[in-house]
Symmetry: C2
Subunit: 496 residues, 2 copies
């Protein structure tokens, strides 16, 4: 026992970086099941207990993401005497450039990094890019480096679906499709690979909206028992919660997982709430539109429940963003609204114009939208699922929109009515973004606060130009417009 | 009294033509109010009683639209002895070319002329074209001669609204805006003018969807009492019901006529049902979408009521046509879904592409759609209200669609599922029309009845081409598609 109390000093870790501590221990039996391992991290009056995990080969690991500068100490807790009560310490130092900490909800409907920098999620979707093997995965990372996306929807488990029939190299559990999986034993090689990809995303400034469960499955991962789910999720949290760029998405299209009840989803939310020491963002993503649920006497998972941090919604009509904001009083992220592409499926054949329109509609209302791309490909490498390269025309327009959003404030519902055929958001009296979509008035009569003056920019959202309109505007006025689709106005109060 | 019984023989009248009989009578007092006048028309066992009307200058008139060939006789009925019990007769002869009789509901969701010829309504909107003076009205008729429209939405009363501020030449009542109107005395010059325009529409094969009341008013016609409404409507029916091309639209945007209750609308439907001997089509047209009514604890006028012949709906989203068919079990006519144009108002600035898309979406589902056009004009002559000339690009595409519709059967909801991103209708096993809208799959997997073979036409709805795809199709197959918006498929069973 004496050895255990030696306090080792470990290398410094930056704020919101990842501290890791490894010990050798028993490899016999089922170490995933049999041996409890974790640690308590302390700084002054604070104590944070985190779960550790077994990483194979007799390795027991605990990871920790410190949120405060200073001298942290820790003590391990284990059911195995040789792993228990080991102590150590490390210094948490200032974050390096590009590290703003994890993303949190901010101002009810929006997001910000832990250091206060506003975060405007501009997501994309590549469900199983991390299951495609080295060459394609590296190509995906290269594409992401050039792309405007700062959030990616991706799955832990592989996907079984049209265009997705290859067997993945590794799965989260020990075993294979042929031999069956041992759902009590994890596959460290899989998890290390996933962690490598999460780190690479982090280096690119991309949040990983990690989908923990999904229905498209031939391996049995979609039909695990509650106990199996919870074992898996605790392991995932022990390994991954210390990545600052993690968001927990409980499921993609939860309402296609017919074995699970609303109680099951509640229980999973509770589990994550209890075991994620950092309280990363938590959401759940639907398949059906609410109207269809309603007709079947069902309803969406209630995003108003307190453990849901933001509404992750699939819906093709962005018009409802304002209504959802009012309903849930949380950030609204439309994480699927059909994808730019030309495949056979209805959800994957909209034009780039429509994809860009969805982004503008959603974001002008103070919501957020996620991209996806589904062009046919001779080898069936489709961005939406496999990653690879982008072939469409929406991404660069989304980049243009992202720049405009990041230049302005996070948007509230506009206090000025800009007519029902627009989507408009603003910061009362200061700033308005008014998007016309495919409406194309040749002029408009507007009315702004007459005690202030404003400048107005005409934005061609498709051709990506911003033109400052001549003059200054105040009170009621008439403004000429191009009479073509896909324009927006940016109205900014002049400093007095 | 003896003179009255002389049976005069009048000129022959064609079936569904208009027989008219005039008498001189008292002009003193208020003949509109004081003197009852009408007639009973008889053929064999049938007797039809119709209201007559006072036409000014001591003239009492009764009109009748015979529906059966043969020798009709009639006897007048009047509270004025000299107008009472006058008799006469005429021969009803076969209809001339182009006269198919009035339009009726046919096959639950559709329409047909009285002679059985199917009628596919392809409407347009020119609310007060008949209030614009001779020159412009004649230009409108000239435009209609070239246009694809066989139904026009038009008002009895003038319109007070943005772009509509001129005083009309005549109103339905005696008086003027300055002096006020005597709502117990009609203005025969106005009515004769309206009748001339109705006749000219009839000559062009155009049904007049005549809007009896509407909210856009500075003359007081929108705020008449129930008694005044009913007096006006009985007069209108006495004059106009014998026009075979009349449809009664109780109101445009009834839900903006805040003085009227649902009871008032019911009473008007009852009145029309009672006094229109020919039972012309009857409908009522809303302003708000039903969702908004619902939020205000209100609802649409219930088109399911037995006296409503078809649902006349304003809604921007044609996707709901199938749902409305199921709900009302009546023909669905989307009589406003925003207009092609570029004016400031949201309802008047959609692209031609979108207007055409609305038509295809609605008609592929076995519904019907109405056109309107709202381009800015140096003299504010805008088709939607004033008529004049058409400036847009949708009308010729609507003409193309009309030809395709008239070549095929009236459409039921498709029994073959063509995927949710299409709108599809058909005649089970025989014929399918599948519209892709702005979805743009590059191929599709379809499944048709394997015991039959089909030909498939690829229709470019925007460029107006029809291309017969090579080969014949049966059972399950994959079909290449252009991967561009605005295509449709027409699938026709080959005769065995």
């Amino acid at each position: 026992m004496a050895d255990n109390t030696v306090n080792e000093q470990h290398p410094a870790t930056e704020q919101w970086g990842q501290f890791e501590f490894r010990l050798n221990g028993p490899a016999d039996g089922n170490p995933y099941e049999d041996n409890r391992f974790g640690a308590r991290f302390s700084l002054q009056h604070r104590m944070i207990e985190v779960d550790g995990f077994y990483d194979g080969d007799g390795q027991y690991v605990v990871r920790f993401m410190p949120d405060t500068l200073g001298e942290w100490s820790f003590t391990t807790i284990s059911s195995v005497p040789e792993l228990d009560a080991r102590t150590g310490s490390f210094t948490c130092i200032a974050p390096t450039h590009g590290n703003h900490g994890p993303v949190r909800v901010s101002r009810t409907y929006h997001f910000a990094y832990a250091d206060g920098k506003p975060f405007f999620p501009v997501g994309t979707t590549a469900y199983v890019w991390n299951h495609q093997g080295r060459e394609l995965e590296e190509q995906t990372l290269e594409s992401l480096k050039q792309a405007p996306f700062n959030k990616i929807r991706m799955c832990v488990f592989p996907k079984h679906y049209d265009y997705n029939l290859h067997e993945p190299e590794h799965c989260a559990f020990e075993g294979s499709l042929e031999t069956g999986f041992d759902l009590t034993r994890f596959n460290p090689r899989f998890w290390r690979h996933l962690e490598q990809r999460l780190t690479e995303l982090q280096d690119l400034g991309i949040e990983a909206d990690l989908i923990l469960l999904h229905p498209y499955d031939r391996w049995g991962f979609a039909k695990m028992t509650r106990e199996q789910d919870h074992r898996y999720l605790r392991y995932a949290m022990a390994r991954l919660a210390s990545f600052r760029n993690i968001w927990w998405s409980l499921a993609n299209e939860y309402d296609l997982m017919f074995e699970k009840t609303m109680d099951d989803w509640d229980a999973i939310f509770h589990l994550i709430q209890q075991h994620d020491p950092y309280q990363h963002l938590r959401s759940i993503h639907n398949w059906q539109h609410p109207e269809i649920h309603y007709r079947n006497n069902q309803h969406w998972y209630d995003h108003g429940k307190p453990w849901v941090t933001h509404a992750s919604i699939q819906h093709a009509d962005l018009h409802f963003v304002t209504e959802w904001r009012q309903q849930y009083r949380k950030p609204i992220v439309v994480d699927e609204c059909r994808y730019e592409g030309n495949i056979n499926h209805g959800w994957g054949n909209i034009t780039a114009e429509k994809m860009v329109e969805c982004f503008w509609k959603g974001m002008a209302q103070g919501g957020y939208v996620t991209h996806g791309e589904t062009y046919t490909h001779p080898e069936n490498i489709i961005w939406w699922s496999h990653g690879g390269t982008l072939h469409g025309q929406s991404a660069e327009r989304i980049a243009f929109l992202r720049r405009i959003m990041e230049q302005g404030p996070q948007l509230d519902t506009s206090d000025v009515p800009f007519h029902w055929d627009t989507e408009a958001g603003g910061a009362a009296g200061e700033y308005y973004l008014v998007y016309f979509g495919d409406s194309r008035p040749s002029f408009r009569e507007l009315k702004l606060d007459e005690s202030n003056t404003f400048t107005i920019d005409l934005i061609d959202t498709w051709n990506m130009t911003v033109e400052r309109l001549p003059g200054e505007y105040s009170g009621a006025f008439r403004i000429p417009l191009p009479g073509k689709p896909y324009y927006a106005l940016r109205i900014i109060r002049k400093p007095s």
